[in-house]
């Protein structure tokens, strides 16, 4: 909670001020989508089978049931990539003739209440043709596997390939090759608020207002207007308070299209609130991957080449806007992580299966590639008989800017410094002593390290490099000081828990010399906010924050210009502080409120030299900046039961200039919890027929307060040169580092048994099975 503004000349940036979002939320006065009343309620009839032709649909007489046949003129969802041999596949908003996963929406039932609609759904009978589903990505790649889409033969929807020049020579000259095979099972992002949509028709304008749980309201407007073939101006999208997203709410939901279509047809209000079962089976999934990684090392244990084979199960359809490429292409581009290695070969495939569609989830592939790379490093350390810390010291990047084997440019960071910071704080020698003593008593403690880079705040060129038809990147902020002196920033980002209203207010406050509580940040309404891309990919503070700073500097310049006229002083002599413009070193001042009033009401005094009003726009599209961290987990593995208890968790992180340390730490804490869930607990399980065995929160288990260890955070600040606020993003780091740290710690604890745990989640069953297979803990 320390102020970090020393020497920066900043008063608000760097301070752990309380969030402006909180008073309403702690009082139960937040506005969430499901709070809205509606005339018509929708429930979706979802497929109970994973594959097959849809036969007869028999609904009770008089029931209002909408199927694909009714949606004439509604286009399918067609996400596009223009690279990597991508095969465009269509997703009809309601299953059209065939179903491809359990949970796919076949029909929408409309009734006067949710309960009535649900009763009708239960009475509808659907016949399905026989078909054999394929659930596992490796099975889907086999010769003769069932085809999910005719457009993607062999079920490969995209294929990324990289091979650096000179790879073979370096590879063949290696001293040692070390290999690791990682299996990451499937996860669901599980925001506590499931999805919801509410659309209402306005007879006077003919417009629809869609309120929904989304991370990108403007793109939802564009996408839904495209699919329905209506002008965007006929649709207003509102993202009110959104109860967490973590990536799951950044894709276009077919259900939202249906709700808007119904509101237009019925000329009324229509609502759908997803239940938890639907969320777990039919929203978006993630992290279902196999990665085989091999590393070539020279005699000094220096990594000289990496070879990887990435198989990503993308489910039944491609998600919009990121497409099925989001996981495999992220994995391919960022596999080398924080290590200096210039030779790289990779094959990354996205594989269609009869499972729920994959989309972004906090960290996107990087929790898995970090796990894989960090397992490789620990295995290599063992092969060279050196310490895990030592092998990292020998390989971490320390010269900047650094261009990776895949062409990414890493800006200045502190990979080695955060490693050393963590090593010192955790006291490795003391731990090794304790570990030895515990082993003598039959207790198995382990320590695991994860060092990683986190690419954040990247603009449109990064998305263009993936060949995306839609390249989200820039952000716009419109900043207004109104005639009463209050400040309003309208932003295209769409925060949903990240505290952006507070952090942007801190940035503005420093520029304009006002207090953050006088600043309102308006977001999540396409009628009020400028077009923007929303909140995802650890981008908002960097990109929207940068746009905010640009706009604030312009407003500041104008305030100073007006003040210089009013105070008859040179602009260079005027400072903005404590709500006033002051001639430095004098008591001559005028309040910001007065300046603002003049800007609107006394424009005749400016002799045409100052434009009326006090509104400025900032747009920012940065190249991207890399945060970094070292995570350390200390675990206690019960070899009798396979249970893992995390004793301690330590993070040394660097995300550039921190705008609000309290909020930054909260992001790290939350990320670690999700990473621990990923490492130990959370798994969406399909049976062979494509049915889901984990359709409630007792079977799919996010961590509770009991599973969270105490977290100790250490900070460094390497101000970013690639971000005008000097801040880097950090929303995903916790999630990225935790699986690797925890799994490395488990493996360290189990060293005496000679087992390797390379599968997540590392459930007690998996740990016991590995120990049994090793024959040492039957």
């Amino acid at each position: 909670m320390t102020a970090r503004t020393k020497g920066t000349g900043l008063k608000w940036v760097g301070r752990a001020i309380r969030r402006l979002e909180d008073p309403a939320l702690v009082a139960g006065q937040g506005h969430f989508t499901a709070d809205l009343p509606a005339t018509h309620w929708v429930r979706f009839l979802r497929s109970p089978v994973a594959a097959g032709a849809i036969g007869k649909i028999a609904a009770p007489k008089g029931a209002h049931v909408v199927t694909a046949a009714d949606l004439k003129g509604v286009k399918p969802i067609l996400p596009m990539l223009h690279k990597f041999n991508y095969k465009p596949v269509c997703q009809p908003v309601l299953a059209d003739g065939v179903v491809r996963f359990v949970g796919e929406a076949i029909a929408a039932v409309v009734a006067a209440s949710e309960e009535d609609a649900e009763d009708i759904v239960d009475l509808i009978e659907v016949e399905f043709g026989d078909a054999t589903p394929v659930v596992d990505a490796r099975d889907a790649l086999r010769e003769g596997a069932p085809q999910i889409h005719a457009e993607a033969p062999g079920n490969v929807i995209l294929e990324g390939k990289v091979k650096t020049a000179g790879f073979d020579e370096v590879w063949n000259g290696a001293h040692k090759i070390v290999a690791v095979d990682v299996r990451s099972h499937r996860q669901n992002a599980t925001p506590m608020e499931a999805r919801a949509a509410h659309a209402v028709y306005d007879a006077a304008s003919g417009r629809i207002t869609l309120t929904c749980t989304t991370q990108m309201p403007h793109l939802m407007r564009t996408a839904i207007a495209d699919v329905l073939g209506i002008p965007e101006s006929d649709l207003r999208v509102i993202a009110p308070d959104v109860g967490g997203g973590f990536g799951q709410k950044m894709s276009l939901c077919a259900e939202y299209v249906v709700v808007v279509w119904l509101a237009r047809k019925l000329k009324s209000s229509v609502a759908w609130t997803e239940d938890r079962r639907e969320n777990l089976i039919a929203s978006f999934h993630s992290r279902d991957q196999y990665i085989a990684l091999e590393g070539a090392f020279d005699r000094q244990a220096k990594l000289i080449a990496l070879k990887s084979d990435i198989v990503s199960n993308v489910g039944a359809y491609s998600c919009f806007p990121t497409t099925s490429g989001v996981e495999p292409l992220m994995a391919m581009a960022e596999m080398p992580g924080p290590y200096d290695v210039q030779q790289y070969q990779c094959l990354a495939r996205g594989v269609l299966t009869n499972t729920c569609t994959m989309a972004a989830y906090r960290g996107v592939s990087r929790p898995i590639i970090t796990l894989t790379l960090e397992r490789l490093m620990d295995k290599a350390a063992a092969a060279f008989a050196i310490d895990p810390v030592d092998i990292r010291r020998r390989n971490l990047i320390d010269t900047f800017p650094y261009t990776s084997a895949t062409g990414l440019v890493y800006d200045e960071a502190s990979y080695k410094e955060t490693l050393e910071m963590a090593v010192e704080a955790i006291d490795v020698p003391a731990f090794r002593m304790r570990q030895k003593q515990a082993r003598a008593q039959g207790r198995h403690l382990g320590i695991g390290f994860a060092t990683f880079s986190e690419r954040t705040g990247y603009g449109s060129p990064a998305f263009a490099a993936r060949g995306m038809a839609i390249t989200p990147g820039w952000e716009t902020v419109i900043l207004t000081v109104d005639p009463s002196g209050f400040v309003e920033a309208r932003i295209g980002s769409s925060p949903h828990g990240q505290g952006l209203r507070t952090t942007l207010a801190q940035i503005i406050a420093d520029e304009l010399g006002v207090t953050p509580d006088l600043i309102k940040v308006i977001h999540g309404d396409t009628d009020r906010a400028p077009y923007g891309w929303g909140t995802f990919a650890s981008r908002s503070l960097v990109i929207s924050g940068g746009a905010t700073l640009i706009a604030a500097r312009k407003v500041r310049a104008k305030l100073i210009k007006i003040a210089s006229t009013m105070l008859e002083a040179a602009p260079g002599d005027i400072v903005l502080e404590d709500g006033a413009a002051r001639v430095a070193g004098t008591d001559r001042s005028v309040s910001i409120a007065k300046l603002a009033r003049e800007a609107y009401t006394q424009t005749h005094r400016f002799n045409g030299e100052i434009e009326p009003g006090l509104t400025e726009t900032g747009t920012y599209d940065p190249p991207g900046t890399f945060s970094n961290a070292c995570h350390v987990a200390v675990v206690d593995v019960d070899v009798e039961t396979g249970r893992v208890r995390i004793e301690k968790y330590l993070v040394a992180e660097d995300a550039g200039r921190i705008i609000n340390p309290m909020i930054a730490e909260g992001q790290v804490h939350g990320g670690i919890a999700q990473g621990i869930g990923n490492a130990l607990l959370e798994e969406i399980i399909y049976d062979e027929s494509g049915g889901i065995l984990t359709a409630n929160l007792a079977d799919y288990m996010p961590p509770t307060a009991r599973e969270m260890p105490p977290v100790e955070l250490h900070h460094m600040e390497t101000p970013s040169t690639q971000s005008i606020t000097k801040a880097k993003g950090l929303g995903e780091g916790g999630t990225i580092g935790a699986p690797a740290a925890v799994i490395n710690a488990i493996n360290d604890a189990l060293t005496p048994f000679g087992v390797a745990i390379d599968e997540i989640p590392a459930t007690p069953q998996r740990i016991r099975a590995a120990l049994r297979a090793a024959g040492k803990a039957a």
């Binding site: 702690v26 009343p37 308070d241 967490g244 938890r276 909260g666 919890a673 509770t704 009991r706």
Partner: protein, 159 residues
């Protein structure tokens, strides 16, 4: 399913006379029939605890209780925590300690913690952790929720 019972829900000392189907959950009745949308529904399985309210002094999952079962009982929800403009110490502590991010699970955590601490003000840290592990939060990683509840417990004991 359309036979409705007439019941009275006393929410934060206001009586709401409503007619509900027997299958109506207390959570739905509070939100939809009584318009108190501060109580959130996260799973409808009794697992996440977002819908926790206090009924006759006990924290309960309002998604696992039928509205008719709460007829005539004293129900407290997040909207009734503050005393006018003065926040309850638990609300203040959640703000002071950054115990919330998206705020969706927050009303449930507030009511859970208040309900337990009113009955058991001297609860041990370890027992408190057990209590808090009965609700789910996906944003905070719980550290700051635990910190907030401990701070509020101290404050509540002092009064």
């Amino acid at each position: 399913m359309s036979d409705k019972s007439t019941i009275t829900l006393s929410i934060n000392s206001h009586d709401h006379a409503i007619a509900v189907e027997p299958r109506r959950t207390l959570a739905d009745a509070i939100r939809e029939d009584c318009g108190q949308t501060g109580t959130h529904i996260g799973c409808e399985h009794g697992i996440c605890g977002a819908c926790t309210v206090i009924v006759d002094g006990e924290p309960v999952r309002s998604c696992l209780m039928f509205a008719v079962q709460a007829d005539g009982k004293k129900i407290r929800t997040v909207e009734g925590l503050a005393n006018g403009d003065t926040l309850h110490p638990m609300q203040q502590a959640f703000m002071d300690n950054h115990g919330l991010q998206c705020g969706f699970c927050t009303p449930g955590f507030l009511m859970l913690a208040v309900g337990v601490l009113e009955r058991e003000p001297d609860i041990s840290d370890d027992d408190l952790l057990d209590v808090l592990s009965s609700n789910l939060c996906r944003c905070t990683g719980y550290q700051n929720i635990i910190k907030a509840v401990r701070a509020a417990a101290k404050e509540m004991r002092g009064k």
